[in-house]
């Protein structure tokens, strides 16, 4: 079929005029930022950001740095996959960081070993019940159930009481953090079983992140669920009029976001070999930032998982770049804020330009 035979009713459409996918802009931004750090590095500290500069290693790229970049964003990236779906369907989720904290505590309680160096586990949460040395599937299932429950509460509040998602998830953010602290009276929970510890070992977080990203990119593109996410974010009233069960869909979206936050919690506590009540503080904002930087519109209806993965990489490159430039960590946070605001400004500008065309 010829490229311009798309139209119906004798109208022709110039295929060349079609704008490229918005992810392309995010990708270009990523390339630009890498080039900027590369240039700055060579100019000011005489080192390469991207390429290997050590004589004792036989690689083209600085693989260690690349690994760190992707490893440090992959756990928040898993959360961002859920946040992306929430934002595309017109909501917002502020509770994911706290869900990480609560889930890590609860799930780790079911992943503890009985004996540490020949002595009974001093940090055991359920020593009397004998819930120690459990098979790894139990903490995983418990963790995911926690995330799903928290997401269900978020979704049900938003769908049925019609309160703004901002408020519902803010409430969950505060409550879940409280639960995380109350669970072990503020004490860290440690000594997981070897099988649990292997979940977040090495590059496992990256593999889990990539696998989930591919899964949800496919789901958002090819399934009814994905189509309805975009439809509801684009025009909720219309979606209701044509018979989409908007309430059920919202509950499902927030449950998926909660489940992804709990997966992040399991991976994180496994990687750190411990769970603390303060885990995941500010993760929700980092996840929202990755999503927005990746081109997902805060007003809903537009965005993609690929964009969010690219957004996460931009995030990682910037943090790593600042460390590479030996800049203070304080600068990182300040610049992070500027980038988030900048991404939203860009989105607004793009929307206004898009609207003027219509």
């Amino acid at each position: 079929m010829a490229k311009n035979s798309e139209g119906v009713g004798g109208l022709k459409y110039d295929a060349g005029k079609r704008s490229w996918p918005p992810e392309m802009n995010v990708f270009l931004a990523l390339v630009l930022i890498v080039v900027a750090f590369e240039t700055l590095g060579r100019l000011f500290i005489g080192d390469s950001f991207l390429f290997n500069s050590r004589a004792d290693l036989d690689t083209i790229f600085n693989e260690q740095r690349l690994q760190i970049i992707i490893l440090q964003v992959s756990i928040v990236g898993i959360i961002a996959l859920g946040v992306t779906q929430v934002i595309i369907s017109g909501g917002i989720d502020l509770s994911s960081g706290s869900i990480v904290g609560a889930t890590a505590m609860i799930s780790m309680s079911f992943a503890q070993v009985a004996m540490v160096n020949g002595n009974p586990n001093p940090k055991a949460i359920f020593p009397d019940l004998g819930w120690l040395d459990l098979p790894v599937i139990i903490p995983i299932v418990v963790g995911i159930a926690c995330g799903a429950l928290a997401g269900f509460v978020n979704g049900a509040l938003i769908a049925y009481t019609r309160i703004p998602p901002f408020i519902a998830t803010l409430g969950m953010m505060v409550s879940a953090r409280g639960l995380a602290k109350w669970w072990s009276k503020g004490n860290p929970i440690s000594f997981p079983t070897d099988s649990f510890a292997s979940i977040g070992k090495g590059m496992m977080p990256v593999l889990i992140f990539i696998a989930l990203a591919i899964l949800f990119q496919l789901i958002l593109t090819y399934t009814k669920y994905g189509k309805h996410c975009y439809a509801i974010g684009s025009n909720e009233e219309a979606s209701r009029t044509v018979g989409i069960k908007v309430e059920n869909h919202k509950i499902l979206v927030y449950m998926i976001a909660g489940i992804l936050a709990s997966v992040a919690a399991i991976v994180l506590s496994s990687k750190n070999l411990t769970a603390q009540a303060g885990m995941g503080v500010m993760y929700e904002l980092d996840a929202i930032a990755m999503t927005v930087i990746g081109g997902t519109s805060l007003s809903g209806g537009r965005g993609s998982i690929i964009g969010t993965v690219l957004g996460a990489l931009i995030f990682g490159v910037i943090i790593s770049g600042f460390t590479f430039m030996r800049l203070d960590a304080y600068y990182q946070e300040m610049v992070k804020g500027v980038i988030i605001v900048g991404a939203v400004v860009l989105d607004q500008w793009r929307q206004r330009r898009g609207g003027a065309k219509g």
């Binding site: 119906v8 399934t223 009814k224 189509k227 974010g233 018979g243 609207g355």
Partner: protein, 256 residues
Amino acid sequence: MSDIVLKTEGLTKRYGGVHALEGANFELRQGEHVAIMGDNGAGKSTFVRQITGVEVPTSGKIIFDGKEVAFKGPLDAREVGIEAVFQTLALADDLDVPSNLFLGREQVKFNLGPFSILDFKAMREATRKALERTAVKIPSLSNTIRNMSGGQRQCVAIARTATFASKLIIMDEPTAALGVQETAQVENIVRTLKANGEPLILISHNMRQVFDLVDRIVVFRRGRIVANLNKADTSGQDVVAYITGAKTAPEYADAA
């Protein structure tokens, strides 16, 4: 009497103390195009909301296709074959044409509940056929609604309605916000539907359009039907007189 598609008997809707619609008796025959006219607040849209299931009437009967129906929601009305183009269009701006056409009733290749895999190819083909049947002109099916003109949006909404309405199409002021050319395009679609013998209820303020397109004109005033006129037996002046209340048809005398 089997050719009566839709009949309402004493259809009434009150919002608190407001009598938005009072005892409406209405009939529509197979293949007939009827216009509903009246001033703002005369009860036209209220009437449409009752027969499309958007609202539940306070009292009265709706008989559709020979059977009495009681719609609990818009989906019920759609299931029996009534489709409406609402003034708000009910389109998702960020989706393309096939997605909007099939919004809420997507065709699936593989059923996995909410995660059912969509059959894009079939929906695209069906969209193309639907647009051809209604003679709608759209430059590109994969373009999002956001990038379309008001007329094109209207056409997509109408095409959706015409595709799925197996028995009755209702249009609520389809050309209110359109330019001259776009209005002509929408009117052409209506003519195509007439030629295909599909019954239609058209709400419009445009006298010229009404006289061009329909067979019969029903006038609403202050929540009541005040006239039921054959196009051939009436004139624009006449209709205006009924709308403003200068005249009332004898059989509806008690309504004035």
